[in-house]
């Protein structure tokens, strides 16, 4: 068996696959950032806003505004661990957050942990269909 490449589909399929892989990476980055682990922080909490979504409390949105101007969505597991006025400090990629100089252990949320294998499956499936979109088998 051999394969021939469909020239007319090669670039469009490659572009769609690239968009798909970018979306996979985006999902991984966004869910990881919500744990605060990848980020460096040295700011005071000036507002915490909890907003309801479709399946409360599972998908409640916890928005934290920092004194450096950033407003970020954070995992609900850690959003309840600090209050307005707390000073938060950590280095990039560290799993310990200092809340008013008291250490708080950070962990990857169920979302971040689940996203990694789920997006691996998505990337493999997209790549498989992309190969099939750009090539056909000759018996």
């Amino acid at each position: 068996m051999r394969f021939f490449s469909s020239r007319e589909n090669l670039l469009p399929a490659a572009l769609l696959l690239a968009i798909g892989i970018a979306l996979v990476a985006f999902n991984l980055i966004v869910t990881a950032r919500r744990s605060l682990i990848p980020l460096a922080l040295d700011a005071e909490v000036i507002d915490i806003d909890i907003r309801r979504e479709k399946h409360p409390p599972l998908d409640d949105v916890h928005l934290v505004t920092f004194s450096d101007g950033r407003t970020m969505q954070v995992d609900r597991e850690i959003a309840g661990k600090f209050i307005v006025g707390d000073q938060l400090r950590k280095r990039r990629s560290e799993t310990t957050l200092l809340v008013n100089d008291r250490p708080l252990a950070l962990a990857w949320s169920a979302d971040a942990q689940g996203m990694s294998p789920a997006m691996r499956v998505a990337a493999i499936a997209l790549a498989g269909v992309a190969v099939m979109a750009a090539s056909s088998r000759i018996a």
């Binding site: 769609l16 979306l23 969505q73 499936a125 997209l126 099939m132």
Partner: protein
């Protein structure tokens, strides 16, 4: 029959594989798989009609039009996520998941068309599948 098998192999099976991935590892967030399925269904409806229209009216390659339609579907998804489906905020992860569904639908249509030139039967199949995907997606995203 061959058209149905090709359709299943390049669209339904990969969509189910990805959906099961969400279900197994992100089962606590049914809205994620809901958005993925709805994105695939919405894009597939647009792609099915557009692919048939292109195949009827001209002999041009389907590749770039499919990319364009996928981008339109992704943009429509962004607009609906920011407006009528906006609850707490514009959810970037919901947007990414529904866009992944649109990308899979685009790649699937290209893979199918390469083997079975897109025809009326595939259009009907695509529209029927899109209704099922949208209804299932709605169920998991909102109910």
């Amino acid at each position: 029959m061959r058209g149905i098998a090709t359709f299943a192999a390049f669209l339904i099976v990969p969509a189910l594989a990805i959906a099961f991935g969400y279900g197994i590892w992100l089962g606590h967030r049914t809205d994620y798989v809901g958005h993925f399925l709805a994105g695939a269904g919405g894009a597939l409806a647009l792609l099915s009609i557009a692919a048939f229209a292109i195949r009827l009216s001209s002999g041009i390659a389907l590749g770039w039009p499919v990319v364009g339609i996928c981008l339109v579907a992704i943009a429509l998804g962004a607009v609906t996520e920011a407006t009528i489906f906006r609850n707490a905020k514009f959810d970037e992860v919901d947007f990414a998941n529904q866009s992944l569904g649109a990308v899979l639908a685009g790649l699937g249509v290209l893979a199918i068309d390469l083997r079975e030139r897109w025809n009326l039967g595939l259009t009907a199949l695509g529209l029927a599948a899109s209704v099922v995907l949208l209804a299932t997606g709605w169920h998991y995203a909102f109910l």
